[in-house]
Subunit: 128 residues, 2 copies
């Protein structure tokens, strides 16, 4: 059963070891042992992480004698960022000023009397 690229990308990014590896590779090509060095973890474990990153398209592996230098291929990150950007307005909160206002109002009222049920937040209207 095929999994979409976006899911694979986010799955690759949800492990801190893998994000650290990506961060390291931003500084240029690194071998497996170089990448493993800062982590308190066996080499096979790192190898598995690299396989996940490779299959997600986030890295590519070359060959230099016995070494397998890895380099970053950040293209899949673009898709991820594009998806996230769709929601920018939500965290930049110009959009839900009303919701934020009502949330705070409710919070202060609960804090003030603590007995009355707060009024329901109305669902947001379309932009005028």
């Amino acid at each position: 059963m095929p999994v979409d690229q976006l899911s694979v990308t986010f799955a690759a990014l949800c492990d801190p070891t893998r994000r650290a590896i990506i961060a390291r590779l931003a500084g240029g090509e690194r071998t497996v042992t170089e990448l493993a060095e800062p982590h308190d973890m066996s080499l096979p474990a790192i190898s598995k992480h690299l396989r996940v990153l490779e299959q997600s398209g986030l890295i590519e592996r070359g060959r230099d004698a016995q070494r397998r230098p890895c380099r970053l291929k950040a293209a899949p990150l673009k898709e991820a960022v594009d998806w996230l950007e769709e929601y920018r307005r939500f965290w930049e909160q110009s959009f839900d000023r009303l919701a934020v206002y009502l949330d705070e109002l409710q919070a202060s009222q609960r804090a003030a009397d603590g007995k009355k049920r707060p009024p329901r937040t109305p669902s947001p209207k379309k932009a005028p």
Copy 2:
């Protein structure tokens, strides 16, 4: 063992059902049954997804009689996008024009003769 917010956020986002729920909530508050409706999945399964989203801070749940209306709280997405933006230059490829050029050169050579091993890509140099 505590898990960092970024890992939790990416983990929440790596499931397509959960991303669909987020997308739906961008249109405003929705109840659990409303959110479940488009998915070929049991209600408890949706309930679990919502719990994941709630624990990651991506949604908040209110109360309206028996209903538990969910609303989007996109704040954690900002952290995710901030992390990703660090790598923008990598997919916008002004940085690795050389690498891209060499990749394409190698690809066309392999396509052309298919027998000679392509020359090793040199590791990227520091910006001049």
